[in-house]
């Protein structure tokens, strides 16, 4: 079962995990990305494309499904305004064995940072606001997967 979603409301991790695990799997790997409140950050805003952001997630899910034998895959990305501590992204990948579940989870989180139409803007307590620049290290990590 593949579930992909772009949501503006808070991601309910427990509910997503329950739905993901409904089929029963030998191994489930998960990644939860959260907003860090470093440097006085008060808001993280994620801009997205109304159609293509979800399509990008679907493409990534399909690529993971083609590379590894996955029993279930859940990929949920939040968009809009978020506060420190909020969940930005949830990746759940399940397989019969741990190696494939872990590899698929890492692949998805790496490629999310370079292949999907999402843009972060940080706002700080002193009023400063700036769009986040893409990091070379993110491109390097995404490039490892070929």
């Amino acid at each position: 079962m593949i579930r992909v979603a772009v949501e503006s409301a808070a991601i309910d991790v427990a509910a997503a995990l329950a739905a993901h695990d409904a089929g029963g799997h030998g191994a489930s790997a998960s990644f939860i990305g959260r907003v860090r409140g470093e440097g006085g950050l008060v808001e993280l805003f994620l801009d997205h494309h109304p159609v293509l952001t979800e399509k990008g997630l679907e493409d990534l899910a399909a690529q993971a499904g083609a590379r590894w034998r996955l029993g279930a895959l859940t990929l949920i990305h939040r968009v809009g305004a978020m506060a420190p501590g909020d969940t930005i992204v949830l990746v759940l990948a399940s397989s019969a064995h741990r190696a494939e579940a872990l590899a698929a989870c890492e692949f998805l989180i790496d490629r999310l940072k370079t292949d999907v139409m999402l843009w972060k803007r940080e706002t700080f307590a002193d009023g400063r606001s700036a769009w986040v620049e893409q990091r070379e290290s993110d491109q390097d990590r995404a490039g490892r997967w070929g």
Binding site: H49, L52, L112, V116, M117, W131, Q134
Partner: protein, 83 residues
């Protein structure tokens, strides 16, 4: 054709999207970025550094050499920063 802008490209252009009639000599995404940069002050502010611009045509990320053809929408935006 519709051009959609995102993140700081949208802020600098002042609109999320616009409908334009392309001049005959604008064939590629790179041509379009150059044309927008030369068109007015907003375009100059958004597209002064073409190497910082990424594009998608009909839902697929493309390079600046990509032919626009009869695409309904060209999206122009900075490098993505999700995850």
């Amino acid at each position: 054709m519709r051009i959609a802008y995102f993140a700081w490209v949208r802020e600098r252009m002042g609109v999320p999207e616009e409908i334009v009639a392309l001049p005959a000599d604008v064939a590629t995404v790179g041509d379009l970025v150059g044309w927008l940069a030369a068109r007015d002050a907003r375009g100059a502010g958004a597209f002064a550094e073409p190497y910082r611009i990424r594009a998608a045509l009909g839902g697929t990320m493309v390079g600046s050499e990509a032919l626009i053809g009869d695409a309904d929408e060209v999206a122009l935006f900075p490098p993505v920063t999700g995850g």
